[in-house]
Amino acid sequence: MADLSVDFCGIRFTNPIVLASGVLGVTGDSMAQVVRNGAGGVTSKSLWPHEHLGHPNPTIVTSEHWMLNAVGIPDAGPEKAREEIARYREVCDAPFIANIVGGTMADYAAIAAEVALMQPDIVEVNISCPNVEDELGKPMACSIAKSSEVTKLVKDALREAGAGHIPVIVKLSPNVENIVSIATSVLNAGADGITAINTVGPGMAINIDFAQPILANRVGGLSGPAIKPLAVKYVYDIYRAKHCPIVGTGGVCTGEDAIEMMMAGATLVGVGSAVWLRGQDVFGQIVREMNDWCDARGIEKLSSLIGKAHANH
């Protein structure tokens, strides 16, 4: 049995597999279920400072190699978040990452101040959702200036609320010219780490009998196995340039996928769409596969693999 634990921004995870934001994650009990199924930690769905409606259905469709989603970041606001996080803490002691989102800079400051009181282990800032552009415009993750400004705002809001010790990581978009320059800007603005990547695109699927886009939002973020090579490459690029803590996420379905992501430079590995392919216990399956892979090769510490693909270049 290999030691699968990792240290991420000073927080210990018994294994590196975390529930990625946006999948499950609506309720405390559902996140606790993910931990029971084997995850080392969880990320909430994006929390807003106020109620936010999502898109009508269809919101998620899948084909063999990909998933398209335009759920539209629905949330009931801080009161519900407080209750659900408290419930999670009551039944579960695995680290909790609060993902936050807003439509404006002021929204981000407001929700950061709110979540500071909920005492998450880590705050993840979602500035990269590709399925709300009609409402909110281009994601902030597409601008060096905006991604930097929002990072500062969140860090300041947490500090002012007496929660300056909580690490802040920023979830980046792959849909930019140069993801490393965005990563650099948010790290310079005080981010403690990076989550890469959010969904790709947006993309579209058309039903040819109706001659209509299937998603009600017409377009949605692309995830699933098809995007894994992109995610691995961006994690690799960011790690090479910055050597910062990274949550690598995008298309990870197996233990081998997760190890690949760690070798690219990820300390934690986000798993989301794989729930569709392998079921609710995918987290435990991946953890077992990672362990078996390590055992077969006599690797005692999984964390020794972080960034390993860089050693020979």
Binding site: L24, S30, E64, F210
Partner: protein, 270 residues
Amino acid sequence: MQIINTLPVAATVKAIVQENEQVKTFVLDLSVGAQPGQFVMVWIPRMDEKPFSVAMDNGKELHLAIADVGPFSHAMHQLKVGDQVGVRGPFGTEFTCEKGQHLAFLGGGYGAAPLYFFAYKAVAMGCTVEFVVGARRKDLLLYTEQARQLKGVNVHVATNDGSEGFEGFNTVLLEKVVMEGGIDCIYTCGPEIMQLKAAELAVREKIDAQISVERYMKCGFGVCGNCCVDGSGVPSCVSGPVMPLAQVLELRDFGKYHRDKLGKKQYYNF
């Protein structure tokens, strides 16, 4: 087995049956291989997509009994024969029984439709079915006549106003049926307060039960998380809608609240 491809396919409305003033059965020209208790997502392009439990899938046609209660179901009710809708599925768990068993069904409102489908399957397996249904009044009863046509099904009707059968709640009628003895399992679909009564009866009489737990579903395959039940935390679209009694008894929300499309608790008013 996991569902890999969840893209909607086009289905044509072959027939529409007006069941009562609120409910129409839509007969679609395809089979999705659904089992009793499972549901499908029905898509009207540029409108929305909603889950509906299956009233019949006979290998050739799919029947959906839909009440005109909201914007989507109202749009469904405007459809005509020859119109098309998109269908994804089937999703979720099914009602199960063993050969030759004596079963008691409790259906309230549109809950009678999936139970009719299950009765159709159960009698083919040599089971005897006590089909207990209820409605506010006689003309709101659903699938009662169809159930009467099935050999091996005994229909027990309760109406609030006594316009047909027993005057009162169908749960009282279920208790009567169960107290006569010999029931192997109770199956229920419909309003949660009614299901709670059935669950309490099953516990008291030490009879097994299967309960269709309805929550706000979006994706249908356990990813979006909106339909997760409290307690076990599992998505009801995958681990449900049909859950065994033991699982239901462990839920923290059953009989108390469900959640809206934002995940906010909505308490039942009994």
